[in-house]
Symmetry: C2
Subunit: 515 residues, 2 copies
Amino acid sequence: MVDEDLISREEAVARIDPGQLDQLLHPRIDPNAEVEAAARGLNASPGAASGKIVLDADTAEERGKAGEDVILVRWETTPDDIHGLIEAKGILTAHGGMTSHAAVVARGMGKPCVAGCEGLSIDLDKRTIAIGGEKLSEGDVLTIDGGSGKVIVGPVDLVPPQINEDFETILGWADELRRLKVRANADTPEDAAKAREFGAQGIGLCRTEHMFMAENRLPVMREMIMASGEEERRAALDRLLPHQQEDFEGIFEAMAGLPVTIRLLDPPLHEFLPPPDEAKDERMRERIRSLQESNPMLGTRGCRLGLLWPEIYEMQVRAIVRAAAAVEERTGEAPLVEIMHPLVGFAEELHRLRSMTVATANEEREIEYLVGTMIELPRACIRADEIAEYADFFSFGTNDLTQTTLGFSRDDAEGKFLTRYLEDGVLERNPFETLDQSGVGDLMRIAVDRGRSAKPDIKVGICGEHGGEPDSVAFCHRLGLDYVSCSPYRVPLARLAAAQAALAERGVEAVAAGG
Amino acid sequence: MVDEDLISREEAVARIDPGQLDQLLHPRIDPNAEVEAAARGLNASPGAASGKIVLDADTAEERGKAGEDVILVRWETTPDDIHGLIEAKGILTAHGGMTSHAAVVARGMGKPCVAGCEGLSIDLDKRTIAIGGEKLSEGDVLTIDGGSGKVIVGPVDLVPPQINEDFETILGWADELRRLKVRANADTPEDAAKAREFGAQGIGLCRTEHMFMAENRLPVMREMIMASGEEERRAALDRLLPHQQEDFEGIFEAMAGLPVTIRLLDPPLHEFLPPPDEAKDERMRERIRSLQESNPMLGTRGCRLGLLWPEIYEMQVRAIVRAAAAVEERTGEAPLVEIMHPLVGFAEELHRLRSMTVATANEEREIEYLVGTMIELPRACIRADEIAEYADFFSFGTNDLTQTTLGFSRDDAEGKFLTRYLEDGVLERNPFETLDQSGVGDLMRIAVDRGRSAKPDIKVGICGEHGGEPDSVAFCHRLGLDYVSCSPYRVPLARLAAAQAALAERGVEAVAAGG
């Protein structure tokens, strides 16, 4: 229609529904197919997939590599299942919420996932499952729709993702219209490359914990945690350093010319240890017990790790600096490095961590980098003025900020009281899917105001999952943020939503007009 | 000195150190005694006590009732130990923080407690303990100092509390000078009477959960939780109602003429069930599992219980209304009833709960009462304007508000990263002991501003433990709150601190002047 001069480019961009666009980016069930769901779970990662049921990661890997389409069906997944997750076309779990391991990993991989499917039971001895009353064996075909949470017995016709030239043209127009930059959350060189392909203008969140979960590194990570003193801990960290450096080099190369924000270690250390009954000896059991927490979400994690055991963050800073120097030497181009400290609540925390970062980097090669912090605690929003003194940038972690501001543990809310709240109309929308603008959003506004009052040119972005949700992107635009960051697969959607937000500001209303 | 016209009453009040006053209200170790601590734990509840070691609650009850001074020594305590806690002179635990069962109960009883004493190990088979290397048997004498966390082997000379006439006179002057009202947190008629004796002007927080923990009620509470449907749940609640009503009648009578704020059920239901391995059958084990939460602090608790299972709060409202009507009939004086809904984050929650409260009360007798809410989530502070529409009063729950605003789970922070933060100087003071004025306090300021902008005459108080800490009381005065509420034993201290805050406003500086 634009070619035919019927509507302007602006109108063309404004008329596209970002929600539909998200569907277009993934395979989906043929709208003409007649399907009946045997059960339903959480729509944990969009897209649809059909494949043979496999009940463990080893089988998934084996059959997947042999070219079979398989759906990995588990009670829940753990980091030990990663090789199976990689080879599966889709993931179905009986247990866990939107932030369960399966859900998070699947979204990161852009792979369909239905999680927490209560109608599913698994009999590992008999190698069978029961789903909504039907009994199936390993090898039988199942279809999952991660966009709706539906699980269907048997194969279903799927429609492939429809990324075509027209689509690219319109996104190009969107890029001209938007003010917000769009980055991606990516932890590996592969994800970084994919993000770039989708048009990401940098990495807004590179988590470093998944790097420690890999099969060959986890044992060293556990040694580090089990160490009886700083010296032993440093010895284990020294062995982890080259791996981290290698990861960072790959990511920097994939993102040449674009900024990369690396978040230092965030999760509580007990997440790296096995459950107590799988501990290899009494000493490990004792350590697991001593690290157990009543509310791990509010425990010894984030920058608290870096302040209690500085050698962990020091190792990570060294790996970053060495990787940046190596890449610059190899390619002639210096990576744009941003080092991010998580879960800061007090300016004094960042003051000390910034000093540690600078001192450690100075011991290594001379490179340029920024030091900043996540803003993911209400206190960080309230005292953003003090924190800004030590920060080159802020990145809102709206997942954790939503959890603390609302007092909602996402794992305990979804499928439980939050689901009831949505059913009963106490809440209109899930605050983990779309930003709670009048609550969490108002705290963000306070943080932006106070942060910029202390440091007018501070760079401010968002790297929670909200960064890829259209209404939240529009809110971030109105708040005057510099960028949003979301999963690679949502980057096109965020580009479009950012353009629509800019247009809305000029009075061009999105979607409403109709086709 | 005032009698001798040397100083004014104002100066007399200003010169007393509230910290010392707190010591005076409890027995303490004779300052002239030479003592050596065998170990140290958390100073969980002030005061000192000497007594014979007993290792279980039954023995403590038996020997205590026989007139012996006993110290109950446990790994940790549970509601099942309550009969032993009542008879013990002091409590010592190896495990748990400042909010552990032992610590909270001891503070409520005004009884010394040292909690989380890592140098303590207990051998229940041999009926011995080891403390800092020394081995002791049940019946040997131990002294604990809950003000310092010291544990001393053998008896030590103690100095009794020094509440005398001079002290009463000065507190009387303080009452004339202060603007802030002082209430107490009390859950039983006995505590209410004690609070009144100490000069409390009402109850700011009457928790209703302890009432369900009593030996004869817990089984019914468990039936309620295990119920397979609403009807069965209501049947169990009907049996709990008369008990609740009886408790409330006692409290209303003890507080005749003064306001009583009753908080409806707050903790997650799993707190009323035994640990999974003590479940009496598979069904209970299943229920315990289904109620388990990753972060119970941020889970299905507070008003979420009242919205998910309205019959629970309905029963409580009925019990309150019936108790108030019965007491009015008996005494001719109507109790001043305030019904408080916990953990509200969204105005819509309180909107519905207020309607439920009014509808339920209307089905019972006609009485006067207020409906209000705790302000204990950052979101409640931010949207206090919307929430005020449905609230006659606000009461800041600064313990939970500190946990969510700072992202600190108290149970996981104290003895762990928070202790390190204090040792290393990242934080100067423990935010659970004294209010974090620039963080949590600033959110409170926002809440007061916004709440009063919507409803200028809304009554605002604080019922967290900070309500009895002098610096926090002074902050509450400056914030323009109407009252503070603290444990009965801290009421005199709060009265003094409130007067000193009023004096400081007039330029009369506290303490600094010296004796």
